[in-house]
Amino acid sequence: MRHIISILIENEAGALSRVSGLFSARAFNIESLTVAPTEDASLSRMTIVSTGSDDVIEQITKQLNKLIDVVKVVDLSEAAHIERELMLVKVRAAGKDREEMKRIADIFRGRIIDVTDSTYVIELTGNGSKLDAFLEAIDRSLILETVRTGVSGIGRGDRILKV
């Protein structure tokens, strides 16, 4: 099953490699990993999307907790949560495609943030499947480049991950 694991970790050099090293050393799966400092600059927050059986996910959270620099670990997917991902897509937008591309971007609530006479860069946020759906909806041959941030997640309501 797919799980979204959120981690608060001391913002020290090498913190990321301790986490990514753990995943590779123990043959755990990483679908995506995002990391940046929090409002408290001494802490970083990481979101890891992983898949595995319940036993594997239990080991992942236990092993993450065991890392000395890790302050807190929570499996967001255990309860109500929100996940978002940001994607930038550069597409060919010339002739008849130009109008069509704008129309589809609007349908997906995307924003065009860079324009030349033959290309657009479209910014899109949402969960992973929405971004996938957008890529499915446009003509594949028009995609020049895509870049995705990977998933960030947060619990709904009173679920708070804080020191």
Partner: protein
Amino acid sequence: MQLTGAEIVIRCLQEEKVEYVFGYPGGSVLYIYDELFKQDKFKHVLVRHEQAAVHAADAYSRSSNKIGVCLVTSGPGVTNAVTGIATAHMDSIPMVIISGQVPTAYIGQDAFQECDTVGITRPCVKHNFLVKDVRDLAVTLKKAFYIAKTGRPGPVLVDIPKDITNQKCEFEYPKTITMRSYNPVVKGHSGQIKKAVQMLLEAKRPMIYAGGGVILSDAAEKLVKLARSLGYPVTNTLMGLGGYPATDKQWLGMLGMHGTYEANMAMQNCDVLIAVGARFDDRVIGNPAHFAEVSRKIIHIDVDPSSISKRVKVDVPIVGNLPDVLDELQKLLEASAGVPDPKALAAWWKQIDEWRGKKSLKYKQGKEIIMPQYVVEKLYEVTGGDAFITSDVGQHQMWAAQYYKFDKPRRWINSGGLGTMGVGLPYAMGVRFANPKATVACITGEGSIQMNIQELSTAKQFRLPIKIINLNNRYLGMVRQWQQMFHGNRYAESYVDALPDFVKLAEAYGHVGMKIERPADVEPALREAFTKHKNDLVFMDFLTDQTANVYPMVAAGKGLSEMILAEEL
């Protein structure tokens, strides 16, 4: 007062009451060595290879529960130390390793003797640090000692660039340390402990399975008390030997790949299993699917939550420091009205005695060729069972574990997890430094001993009267055994040719050498070594049976009760 980084390192070690630092100097640690030279509060042990420094510090820790400390230089100093660090890590040994690093400005420039120490050691330490500011040095070292010995212990490495050791700052050693990200659990969950007591009292076929955690946390006495008050059978893992007295009638011997018939059968057939500081590893329970075929209730006490339900699903997990948890368990047990079912227990012991009747460790000693098991048995007799025994890795390690009966914890020192050949001699050195009056013997083989043979020189310098018991069968015996059993007798590269004359070799290093070729000479030679040469290092080269195998054996991937016994061959 303003101190240099090097002075701070020395002061921190003194504050931690370090007695010995095992190390080897080099360019990046010269300032530290300079300050070490100017003090006499702790001693430095100069080894002949960094790997041996780490092993010696590791055994110093294993045999005393003090923290072993080593000091190595950057680059090759660190890479040589890695095997030792990984060995300690796999067996959860508390240690602090201080390594030199190239000056801060050179890091990442492929400087002379530079390596990414923090990167290389990350997967084989409990934690590591790179000190980038001299003002962080004292608190980092304090953290290193704190992390190494608390929770599930392990090695911690502190990497110090050379320029940091020559910069000055105000020195103050923190008295205590708190870390928001690291708070090991001490007390077990009392609801879970209650459940465990209930389950233990309802057992019909109970079994106590105790591992290295009992030794590491100094919980042996409490375990013995619990086992005796219940009257339940006990088995130890390789790492747990000495955690329960081997001469006690409730002890079934070691379990696992080369465990006794009775221990493995009881483990497989029990209905309630309590695992204490053990981790159900592959050499202990064999195939986990086969192990799980029999339904039994499992209680698991461990300080590390990630050890619980890792390979085997358990019913009652208890996370906590073993002595604390065992105390509470004992208290609740004594307060409880229930007692173990005497009829069921008697029937269970009757079954166990039947299994014992197989005498799975028996072997035959003839008149011509020395059997390796016989040497270990005689060593046990000659030393009155009271020696510290270190071993290397292979057949001799298993024979040592099977035939030397350990009644006390911290007397059996070996590399269980990583299985590192070459630990035996440096381990014996570390044991002797921690226990200066103790009798220390290193049971080894002609393969393993050559992996750190240079330490005969260190042993001479520090006059360490270690007795080396070399079970010399001219084969890498365990490799040969597997080749015989699983690879059609094709002995690929397991015959060791062109061996040195170990007697002359020992003498060349200034020690006493003996060669023993006949069974009748085994005991007299041992007596001579431990009496006449009490104060010498004696290298005893026993020429042993080349075809001897370790039995019982659970082949890799097989179930625990699918043992191959000597008599079946």
